[in-house]
Symmetry: C2
Subunit: 492 residues, 2 copies
């Protein structure tokens, strides 16, 4: 397979699809809408997971595990939530296969083994978890419960794309229970901050923090907070959500506690999640026509060392230096791959690691050994320089920090230059078509207007910024009065 | 709920069930046969996972993720494997729910949304993975593939028990592909060694390493290696398996490679797994009538510190010492919980942490502060001593190592004294009923005899030891000649 990618300007969507496959991140499986996450892609996801998990624990959460199946009666208990997910529910109806009498060697569903009650493969776990919390919560002393789960979930999406929208995906879902509304609201906000910090400091992806409108809110929530990232094609991507559930699930599952005054009250809840969709955001935010660009904090390999040689003697000489440098780097916690594969030429390797987004490439040839230098190439800027071997580990360590910072700043500049204030619907449509990005505009607060804009332009309200500046204005569509601007964009 | 457990001698099975629930490890969910793994239980599982994952990576494996669903035609491709799992397959037949016209607010399976082909929720992933490997493997250069997956799987078991046998469970499954038989056989053996080392060094559970008989082999494998542990009631528990798959899956999914000589060959495979069942083994191997006993290497909390005080003044004084000690311990990487919860009395806390198997409990009262000592209680031996605060962190570090060692030695002594050689069927039955444990006996090698013994005594052949001593003898049942003894036991 050719490693050459379609360019972003030729076809952004095609560029993304090719990149995911050619950089060995993921591929479609033989199961409709489900992906295979390949080792290189999974290694990036593991780095995300480890860091998020650390932050969840630091903020007092514990991991647990709940069943993948939700019995139908439990699924339908919180009606809005059920309604929101019913249309994409994968349903287990039978528990046994038997030999097909008409087709030797083939199997068929055994009609005798029909379940009395159907099981839904979890699209999200509020129902199963709140039905469990009912057993765990009696008194205010049992609260708060601060639990996170790493799991797979299934939503039967009709149109799927690797990482961005798949029938099965991996995610984490936090589910917390609290004695007071204020505590639950604080938790919702805290977890949004955790997500925002992770996106910016680790993924190097700047995000807007805001609140969803009524129509975009999570099914069953009172309030949905979100982080919204901007991709290089000017489309937004919702990268994480944190929901204040009010007492909705407590009500649906009858989860009450006795408060300090001895009175029964319904429990307050939150839920929050990010998924393998973050992989899509990471890929689309930074990568270029030569392939992936990975921020060092999430790169499975920080530095690849490619020995350059003509003969056995040269190889030996070069490998000695290369191995020494590799060990120096490793002792600093830098992840190194020394690629001495004899079957591939250096040029092939250069292209391969460029495609895979390894932040730094170090080439060492016989002359470099003589001069005590290496050739160091940065993936993000695609620049090369000759660097002394002396003190190389310290140098690389600083450089990786600089690259992390630089990638973030580049994405931030792009994002900041793509938030456009408009004051008319004409301007709105024109910016949306020409420049894209986030558009800040006045809206009259009605679902009707929101819907009309969506139908006519495909743009949706991404969020109302947290701590949004209050500003008198008029809705760009209806002309009705508005007290604040909201953020629109076309989105993934 | 009373924290008092049924004792092992009263009812071992009941003791186990109560312990799992009362120590907050897991509980049954509202979904038939599926468990909820609670935070404390999950924290132990995470420690197992982290260590195993480290060892898999150290032996050259990478993680990846494959779909949870297996289309029926793919599932049935390797016939023996399909036959082995068909009777316990959870089957997805529909992908949408709709409002039930007869019952307002209720949902029903939408008959319009029937899948063209049924999907099996993976009971194991050979089928989906080998159908993927077909795309990845063309030449010997693409081999070996050394992949592991951490995932949930579903086997519709009729009789379930927490951790030991559940409809859904968590596990890891390694799936490797090789150019030669020898390499695949070595991989199979290597992974069995990894499992054995983990069981013995981390779980402190001694294991027998052996090979399954034809009738106990994994469906679709040529050879199944296993580790077998012994529980305190004299029953064996299969703790991990490593399968040499031969070319069976390569054949079923047409996975061929071009070898160095340019010829097409079928690929050789292995698969290997351990699951949350290990939690059952860990619990049953070491715990006692007072609760869990955890080896320090897998204990989420190494040391609990309980301050003892009469009044505010005492508390302040004691907390100062306690906090200082906690910090000293933490700086050595020892996991500490300082329990200053005011709502609970020290006695309650002592019982609670004993039940939860925290290896060391440290009590500090005003007099201890004066004398610069603490009272240290070991969970495994249930002994107490007064220990100087000076140098406490070094002392605790050494003591934790000693406890780890001691727990293993205790289990090893028990196991070793429960391997009994017998030379007649009478003796076999008598030992099985009186003493239990592993029984080493001659067997004629036929499935018929194996089956007869199983029916008459419920004992199965757990394994034929690796590097088994060759010894002429006669089968205890048929009297036919035998060249080696095999290991029998009643098993979980």
């Amino acid at each position: 397979m050719s490693k050459k990618l379609t360019t972003r300007s030729e076809n952004y969507s095609e560029w993304y699809n090719e990149l995911v496959v050619k950089a060995d991140l993921a591929e479609n499986s033989g199961v409709r809408g489900c992906m295979v996450i390949k080792p290189y892609g999974y290694a990036i996801w593991e780095k995300m997971k480890d860091e998020l998990d650390r932050q969840f624990k630091e903020t007092g959460h514990q991991n647990a595990y709940f069943p993948i199946f939700v019995p139908k009666h439990m699924f339908e208990a919180e009606e809005k939530n059920a309604e929101g997910f019913a249309k994409e529910a994968a349903i287990v109806t039978h528990y046994r296969l038997k030999n097909d009498p008409d087709k030797p060697g083939k199997l068929m569903v055994d009609p005798q083994a029909k379940l009395e009650e159907e099981l839904i493969v979890r699209p999200t776990s509020e129902a199963i978890i709140w039905s469990t919390y009912k057993k765990w919560i009696q008194s205010y002393r049992d609260l708060p419960i601060l639990i996170n789960q790493w799991a797979n979930v299934v939503r039967w999406e009709m149109r799927t794309r690797l990482f961005l929208r798949t029938a099965e995906f991996l995610w984490q879902e936090g589910h917390t229970a609290h004695a007071t509304k204020q505590e639950a609201v604080s938790e919702t906000e805290q977890m949004l901050q955790v997500y925002a910090k992770f996106a910016e400091e680790h993924m190097a992806v700047p995000v807007l923090k805001g609140r969803k409108t009524d129509s975009e809110r999570f099914a069953g929530a009172e309030d949905t907070l979100c982080i919204e990232a901007l991709m290089q094609d000017g489309k937004a991507l919702q990268a994480g959500t944190s929901h204040f559930l009010g007492q909705n699930f407590a009500d649906a599952f009858d989860v009450k506690f006795v408060n300090k005054e001895g009175k029964q009250e319904l429990v307050w809840g939150t839920s929050w999640g990010v998924s393998t969709r973050l992989m899509g955001a990471l890929i689309m935010a930074h990568s270029d026509d030569a392939g992936l660009v990975l921020p060092p904090k999430l790169a499975p390999i920080h530095v690849v060392i490619v020995p350059i040689y003509r003969n056995e003697e040269g190889l030996k000489q070069v490998m000695e230096s290369a191995t020494k440098i590799a060990n120096e780097l490793k002792s600093k916690g830098i992840s190194v791959k020394l690629d001495d594969d004899d079957n591939r030429k250096p040029g092939w390797k250069f292209a391969e690691y460029e495609l895979k987004g390894v932040p730094l490439r170090m080439a060492i040839g016989p002359r470099d050994v003589e001069n005590n230098v290496v050739e160091l190439a940065r993936r993000d800027t695609q620049t090369k320089s000759s660097v002394p071997q002396e003190g190389i580990a310290d140098y690389v360590e600083l450089l990786l920090d600089e690259i992390q910072e630089k990638i973030y700043t580049k994405a931030l500049n792009y994002r900041d230059s793509h938030i456009t204030k408009v004051d008319s619907y004409e301007e709105f449509k024109s910016i949306l078509e020409s420049k894209g990005g986030f558009i800040s505009a006045h809206w009259d607060g009605t679902e009707e207007t929101e819907q009309k804009i969506k139908e006519e332009t495909k743009a949706t309200i991404r969020c109302i910024l947290l701590n949004n500046e209050q500003e008198e204005g008029t809705c760009i569509v209806s002309g009705k009065p508005s007290k604040e601007r909201v953020i629109f964009a076309k989105a993934y």
